[in-house]
């Protein structure tokens, strides 16, 4: 009986949190179908007629189509490169012994504590000198090549917890390090990899200041730079409903990606469960 009650309390807690998340989202969606006058007149009222034109306006004015393609390219490529690098580096830092390991590790961890606002200018100067400004590939390089402390830390702690036996036996069988990483470490580390994949994805998807400064050509803007500019325009305009419609459009791909990732996590977890 008490167990039932307890269960009910927990389920209500979950429901309350879910409501706190879902209500604002529903709110955004239905506001995005209003006119600006309705939006400001009473933000809690329902739209009288659905203004699909907000969506077409958002699509064209915010250049959503092109910016989505750019984002897919930028986020997809960056994610692939940085996750590959994260796996091999996490392996190198946690499973291998080498001379400068600890120094290099602490140098990388240092970046977590640096405030980072002032680095925009020197970064821009460097990228300019390397002729990488106004280029999506340049942005990809900057976003994926430098080792990220967050990825290493999370994936590293995950790898430490993996059993040594499997890779050891693989080495005895004559596998190379690359083979071990690819065939044994990657499958085992999948839940960790997916976790940092999600975070990297969100970070890449939402990053706007760096991309904005490095890309001067609006045809190359990513979704978040577009939204950043669209919001900045709200200082000079009062077209909130179009902004919200644009947001709804841009959020959809993120949700799909997240759902795909989430399934991978569950698969990875069952995989780990079987092995464990």
């Amino acid at each position: 009986m008490t167990r039932r009650m307890g269960s009910l309390v927990w389920r209500i807690i979950l429901l309350l949190w879910a409501l706190s998340v879902i209500l604002p989202i529903i709110w955004i969606v239905y506001q995005s179908f209003k006119t600006n006058q309705q939006f400001f007149a009473d933000i809690w009222s329902l739209p009288s007629t659905f203004q699909w034109s907000n969506y077409s306006k958002a699509w064209t004015n915010l250049g959503v189509g092109q910016s989505m393609l750019n984002t897919v390219y930028y986020v997809g490529l960056s994610l692939f490169i940085s996750l590959t690098l994260a796996v091999v580096n996490a392996y190198a830092f946690t499973k291998m012994e080498w001379k400068l390991r600890n120094i290099v590790w602490s140098l990388i961890m240092l970046s977590l504590f640096l405030p980072g606002i002032n680095i925009l200018v020197p970064q821009y100067t460097l990228m300019r000198a390397l002729d990488l400004t106004n280029s999506l590939n340049g942005l990809v390089l900057l976003a994926s090549l430098p080792l990220g402390a967050f990825e290493l830390l999370l994936l590293g702690s995950f790898m430490r917890s993996l059993p040594k036996e499997l890779e050891e036996s693989a080495f005895i069988d004559g596998a190379t390090i690359f083979q071990v990483v690819r065939k044994i470490i990657v499958p085992l580390a999948m839940p960790g990899l997916v976790t940092i994949g999600i975070f990297k994805f969100v970070a890449l998807y939402n990053d706007f200041l760096g991309p904005f400064i490095l890309l001067s050509d609006p045809d190359k803007y990513t979704v978040s730079v577009n939204m950043y500019a669209a919001n900045a325009m709200m200082e000079y305009k009062s077209d909130w409903v179009t902004l919200l419609a644009g947001l709804v459009i841009t959020v959809i791909p993120t949700i799909i990606v997240y759902m795909l990732f989430q399934r991978k996590i569950i698969e990875g977890a069952t995989l780990g469960g079987v092995k464990g």
Binding site: Q37, R128, S216, D217, A229, A232, Y236, S238
Partner: protein, 480 residues
């Protein structure tokens, strides 16, 4: 010399043909009104001389890189202006980077220190810092140039007074090319005022207070403003000058321009803040103002939840997406004197300007100047007025009755107010520019607390005194 004139007129003609061929005839009045002599113009373009009548070579291609702030005036007028210019001078093209966040890009490029990478023409910001670093091209000579439709008059003669005043130059030169100016003040719903019979044009401070009282009695907040962006300045920043006249303080402006007297704690400033505090305590200024951005506050005026909102003349354009079809904005300035003889000082200033980067090829800079002058032709001004909702900068703009009649309701309301009242357009220029962390700290301290003073939640004097202390530190530092 003579042959040069001939050559150039021929060139204008060929430019004209290009222009006519290029545009499909929807430009009614042609901007090219120079001494073009069509009888000379039958020769084909192959014989055309290498320079335009402005002395710049025709065959050297120039691309002007522009850092454009996409803001309240939009970019339609600018796209139109560049298209017109390229039609007329086909060797000049434009590479426009437009963004509402262009200042971030400009400051990053400036700090990166790569002159080649910088825009040629850029939205005007932080110009004293750029000038101090020798980064800007002086634009004083532009004002001696002649817009194509000016009937031979110089820009200096054609521009609204106040934008090329040698006494107000920074380091002896003019650095900013004005595009639009703003008129600050109180904006309101015409219909709401008419329905209630409220005074649309109070002549004295007491009349203004009476208006606030009348509005309050109807259960409406008399004033709401954007506390987040400190928009109260658009109505009240210039009131110290009115009080100085009432006080017979002849030295006030001199002190103001040179930071030679007390700034925040001058008798006039303290009086202004005390009155605002008082208005806040009486409930004339809505407490909701504190955390509000300007579209929110302007929205309340649109909805009739508040009667007046301090802002600038861009308000009509800014709110057009949210305003009901038949909404008409009205304008008034706030009188702070009880003497009708004292002119009402209207807050006025540059709201959009361009500057030219110094370390660029001469030819680029010359074309940049030519282009800027072309922006002050009435044709471009017309688009800026129509599409951008700006106030024209050409003093002869209104001479054309059709253009004057075409103005938007708010622009008319402003024009009417100005003609029916004893007003002064106050630019608040200073001769000394302070630039130190203490100066910023002083202003930050006062600005951060302004919303609390204006809503009657914090007494002004201690804040003004602390601001003054920091400011005097900055003044001393600058004196060293």
């Amino acid at each position: 010399m003579k042959s040069k004139v001939k050559k150039s007129s021929l060139l204008v003609f060929s430019a004209l043909t290009v222009l006519l061929a290029a545009c499909s005839g929807n430009n009614g009045n042609n901007p090219a009104t120079e001494s073009a002599n069509p009888t000379n113009g039958n020769t084909p373009a192959a014989e055309a001389p290498a320079v335009y009548d402005n002395g710049l070579p025709k065959d050297e291609k120039v691309t002007l890189k522009v850092g454009f702030l996409e803001a309240g005036y939009g970019r339609e007028w600018f796209d139109h202006a560049t298209a017109l210019f390229t039609e007329r001078y086909p060797n000049v093209t434009f590479d426009i980077t437009a963004s509402p966040k262009i200042p971030d890009l400009i400051t990053t490029k400036a700090a990166a220190g790569d002159d080649k990478d910088m825009f040629d023409i850029l939205y005007g910001l932080a110009y004293t810092e750029f000038v101090d670093a020798n980064k800007l091209e002086p634009l004083t000579d532009i004002f001696q140039m002649k817009p194509s439709d000016g009937g031979g008059k110089t820009l200096d003669e054609l521009i609204v007074p106040g934008y090329n005043v040698p006494e107000q130059y920074y380091k002896g030169e003019n650095w900013l090319f004005p595009i639009a100016n703003y008129i600050g003040g109180m904006f309101y719903d015409q219909k709401l005022f008419e329905d209630n019979g409220w005074n649309k044009s109070p002549k004295t401070y007491d009349e203004f207070l009476a208006l606030c009282e009348a509005i309050m009695s109807k259960g409406i907040d008399p004033i709401v403003y954007s506390g987040l962006y400190n928009y109260s300045i658009f109505s009240f920043d210039t009131k110290v000058f009115e009080l100085a006249i009432d006080n017979g303080n002849k030295e006030f402006r001199n002190h103001y321009e040179n930071y030679s007297g007390p700034e925040f704690t001058s008798a006039e400033s303290v009086e202004v803040y005390n009155r605002l505090y008082d208005m806040g305590q009486k409930g004339y200024i809505s407490k909701q103002s504190v955390g509000m951005n300007h579209t929110q506050s302007q929205m309340l005026a649109l909805q009739g939840k508040a009667a007046m909102v301090p802002s600038g003349d861009w308000i009509e354009n800014e709110m057009k997406e949210s305003a009901p079809e038949d909404f008409e904005w009205g304008y008034m300035a706030v009188p702070f004197s009880n003497n009708p003889e004292t002119p009402i000082h209207i807050n006025n200033g540059l709201s959009y300007a361009f500057q030219i980067w110094a370390n660029k090829p001469d030819l680029t800079k010359q074309w940049a100047k030519q282009f800027l002058v072309s922006l002050l032709t009435n044709e471009v001004q017309q688009i800026l007025v129509d599409k951008g909702g700006a106030f024209p900068l050409r003093s002869d703009f209104m001479d054309d009755s059709a253009r004057a009649a075409n103005m938007k309701p708010l622009q008319k309301s402003i024009a009417t107010y100005m003609s029916e009242n004893n007003v002064v357009l106050e630019l608040k220029s200073r001769k000394v520019v302070l630039n130190s962390p203490d100066f910023v700290a002083a202003n930050k301290h006062v600005q951060d607390n302004t919303a609390l003073i204006l809503t009657g939640q914090k007494e002004p004097l201690p804040i003004l005194e602390e601001g003054e202390r920091l400011l005097q530190k900055a003044v001393q530092e600058a004196g060293k």
